[in-house]
Symmetry: C2
Subunit: 103 residues, 2 copies
């Protein structure tokens, strides 16, 4: 019955996996100095915003991926963060997963 | 009664304003190319993660500030983002404000 589209129902092709959207937050570990954050805080103070405390600057990564299920997507994200997206020696990461409609 | 600390109650000094914690997300506008994101996607594909879609990389900023109330804190964050933290020509920003216990 592939290719039929009665009643607006269209089964996904066999190879289609669920789509997930991920938001990844990479932050410096608390024990690591953040010179960029210090520079921004100093810049803000010079602009008159002297009521601002210490600033930490991290990365915010948005991506989509296909995986069999949420657990598999989560595992893969952990590996990707450890291997490429974050530097585990000086950075922490956390992510949020959201299921997207299957195409 | 300043300085007294009966029953664990310690009034803040007159000058103390409420503390707010802000999480700011700065992202490239959708119409702007993200070469760093493309490079990361290509890197992941070379590592075997070829089920990952387009990647967008932004900034994630954490800071604390003192302000009279939440509206004032929000207004100041808007000005700080427009003037220094984000480039409004190519970037969007959004932030979350959280009230911290007054010191």
């Amino acid at each position: 019955m592939r290719g039929t589209n009665y009643c607006g129902f269209s089964p996904p092709p066999e190879s289609a996996l669920p789509h997930y959207s991920a938001r990844i937050y990479v932050t410096l570990r608390p024990s690591v100095l953040d010179p960029a954050g210090t520079a921004v805080q100093s810049g803000l103070a010079h602009m008159g915003y002297d009521n601002v405390g210490p600033i930490r600057i991290g990365k915010y990564i948005e991506l989509t991926l296909d995986a069999e299920n949420e657990a598999a997507a989560s595992q893969q994200l952990d590996r990707m963060c450890d291997q490429l997206l974050a530097n585990p020696v000086i950075e922490n990461y956390r992510f949020e997963l959201q299921t997207l409609a299957t195409a």
